[in-house]
Amino acid sequence: MASLSKAVNTVQMTPKKLKVKRFVPLENPTNTYLTDEKGIWAWLTTVDHKKIGLMYLGAVAFFFALAGFLAIALRTELWTPAKTFIEADTYNQLFTLHGAMMVFFVLVPSIPAALGNFILPMQLGAKDVAFPRLNLASFYIYAFGAIFTFLSLANNGFDTGWTFYTPYSSDTNSAGIIWVTLGVFILGFSSILTGTNFITTIHKLRAPGISWDRLPLNVWALYATSIIQVLATPVLAITILLLAMENILDIGIFDPALGGDPVLYQHFFWFYSHPAVYIMIVPGFGIISEVITTFSKKTIFGYWAIALSSLAIAFIGFLVWGHHMFTSGQSAVATTIFSFLTFLVGIPTGIKIFNWVATLYRGSILMKTPMIYVFIFIFLFSIGGFTGIMLGALSVDIHLHDTYYVVAHFHYVMMGGTLIALLAGLHYWWPKMTGKMYNEPLAKFAAVLIFVGFNVTFLPQFIMGAQGMPRRYYNYIDQFTPFHQTSTIGSYILAVGFLVILFYLAHSLIKGQKAGPNPWNSRGLEWQSTSPPDFHNFSHTPVVIHGPYDYHQPMEEFQLGLAVDHEYGDEQDEVAAEAHASLDTETTEA
């Protein structure tokens, strides 16, 4: 393995014990994780976190394309106030499917399971996640859950909206609802397992020298996300089980006809689904921190403010679910408390934005594609945040609830936030994952298309929502036509933007120029390996003596590894542990 790198320098660390040397990653690695095991079977049975991450990425891209295609169909139907080309029942099924797929199959796994899987162990200097087989299992559980959702389509489909509100969802006699909820139930386990895996990995597999204050912010974000995944997802499973019991066994839980309470369902549902919003967005915050420092060549401003605000969001995020229910008939006291807590969760989010912008101050800013997406993120996500404050205000929410204003708000947060962050991360780590560069001018062009298309699609929705246009409407009254048509045009521009991305990424895979190990000159540990990395990520055990964004330190000091020639034995682990301890001492003294 050591042949991958050439040792050019040996640095003696003070104090004592630790012998490290410098490993410069090769420009043209001959042996990478892509060449290590070949063939479809090797991929399907791999326990390599990088390949599993890529399989997730492929699956997420597939579902995104599918659900995105549905969105285009929906927007096309809304071109005219009455029927444009599909029936009401079809429309209702399509928006349900669009929402359910985007949430459960795209947004939830997108950043943690796809990019996180690939990047997290590398940022920790680990060979893999803590439980590689569990990691593969969670991918198959995800695939299995997806199959059930498709089975629902063969069983009359379902038209309840992705929220499955009772008693509509329990009254409906279509079998599709059983299949899709079962699919979501199964999918939840995939999410829980990934979360457990990441928490363990972050606690146990950090390379020597990576103390908690040297953890990349992407890792902090994934850590916060994993906590939410592990704690909140079981409640979704409980909710779905109760729903299924009611549907199949006629046990009255949520349906008033059977003596149940429909508002109880909403509490259950949002107890998961609000934290789930943070499962979707918090990993995006991590990516933004990584990209903005690399392309500013500068230490992050307010490391602890950003790291801890992720945790704060994770915890407060559990206590705000009732803000989806201000008009539902929940108790007045609950409504008041939920509104108050909702504002509290907005603050850590604002803090992040301010810290990111402050990071730019006196930086050395290079506007490459990932950085353009960061700027787009800050622009769109801020609008999502401010409109969230609007929706948290009790009296105003009464007017705006369940209108297109809400639709626009969560698209600004989920698409303008999570998905744009995903694009930033994808363009940032693409050279690492594939070893290839993409066409930069074309990528910038696509980013502009997406920015323009996004705003043309969703800005009019704020206006028509505030004007009163309710969501989930197949027909609408004439006065909203201009807004709907503008929005539809915007969605076509967005679609073109994504097609351009598809084109140049495919081109990059086939004909892309070699990227080299660290095309962005990042200090991040994941960039101190070859591109693509070898099967074990590094040819050595990395040793970290600086924070991940210490751009004032020379690059050489980020390329250290244990000098001892190792073969993964017990003896080696002891050395690593000692190194860890002595490095900690060293930093506190320095």
Partner: protein, 313 residues
């Protein structure tokens, strides 16, 4: 007054319920715009001012600044407290019905609104109210969740099958205001529209007196009015048009094929069963989406409806 974001809101026709909401809407928008422009301006300014000039650029080590962190945490926090307080007080106002409010009963069902007045008058999808006094709607649903929304009054509340909820407003001008259902309720959710029709107080009294006691006339005429008032026409046409359910035209004594393959003659008992327990016998080619009318209609009314259906050829 003319505020920057006026273009976003619909007309305000019930100032007592809408004014505080509108004020807060404008306040949040304007405050957000200032902060948003500040952030975006700083970001773009930095990107230009500090653009990379060479790969060897050195950047200063700036790790954090506690004064700044506290400033940009506390100021937004205080602002959100203000927003919370104003939102809360506006919402309390929406919850607190004036004592002298005029009460009207509203029942939502798939996919119409049925309105009942104190003197037995009934309407469908039209709420007649007098101008200038507070109106309280006491609402319930006879099937799934619905939500009652009048944008021009800034009021909305979910309508539930197992309890009563209410909204109040006080229209200050005559004319019509749009009502939407804003909780997804199935196939024709987007057709579950209605109107508030505001009269001068004396005109309202005249209207109310004219319609006292509900349906009038011969059994057939009453049956016809009941078919309208019960919202049957949202799904069943009387002119042969196929909507969501079978048309009533020529339905009497016809042979009808059922979804389970059997055939049945449309008689009194079939109609009665189809009204009370519509899921029992589904006509071929139609979905089982009708909500049961059990408990919502009595036998006398069913008989009148049957008499009316016999006459539609």
């Amino acid at each position: 007054m003319g505020r920057l974001f006026d273009f976003m809101l619909p007309e305000n026709k019930s100032p007592l319920t809408a004014d505080s909401t509108d004020w807060l809407f404008h306040f949040i928008n304007e405050a957000s715009l200032v902060i948003f422009l500040g952030v975006i301006f700083a970001m773009i300014y930095f990107a230009i001012r500090y653009r990379r000039k060479s790969e060897d650029d050195k950047t200063p080590l700036i790790t954090h600044n506690n004064t700044l962190e506290i400033t940009w945490s506390v100021i937004p926090l205080l602002l959100t407290f203000v927003v919370f307080g104003l939102g809360y007080s506006g919402w309390l106002n929406l919850k607190t019905v004036p004592n002298d409010a005029y009460e009207i009963q509203v029942t939502g069902f798939k996919w119409s609104w049925n309105i009942n007045y104190e003197n037995g008058a009934q309407t469908i999808n039209e709420i007649h109210v007098p101008k200038g006094i507070p109106i309280k709607l006491v609402m319930t649903s006879s099937d799934v969740l619905h939500s009652f929304f009048v944008p021009e009054y800034r009021v909305k509340h979910d309508v539930l099958p197992n309890r009563y909820t209410y909204v109040w407003f006080q229209p200050e001008e005559t004319g019509e205001s749009q009502i939407f259902c804003t909780e997804y309720c199935g196939n024709s959710h987007s057709n579950m529209l209605a109107k508030v029709i505001v009269h001068e107080p004396e005109d309202f009294q005249t209207w109310l007196d004219e319609n006292a006691g509900g349906p009038t006339g011969s059994p057939i005429e009453q049956g016809e009015q009941l078919v309208t008032l019960q919202g049957c026409q949202a799904c069943h046409s009387v002119d042969g048009t196929e909507i969501i359910g079978p048309s009533f035209k020529g339905i009497w004594n016809r042979e009808r094929k059922l979804a389970d393959g059997n055939t049945i003659i449309v008689d009194e008992n079939y109609i009665r069963e189809s009204i009370l327990y519509p899921g029992e016998k589904i006509a071929e080619g139609y979905q089982n989406v009708m909500s049961p009318y059990e408990g919502r209609i009595n036998d006398e009314e069913i008989t009148k409806i049957i008499e009316y259906l016999k006459t539609i050829d």
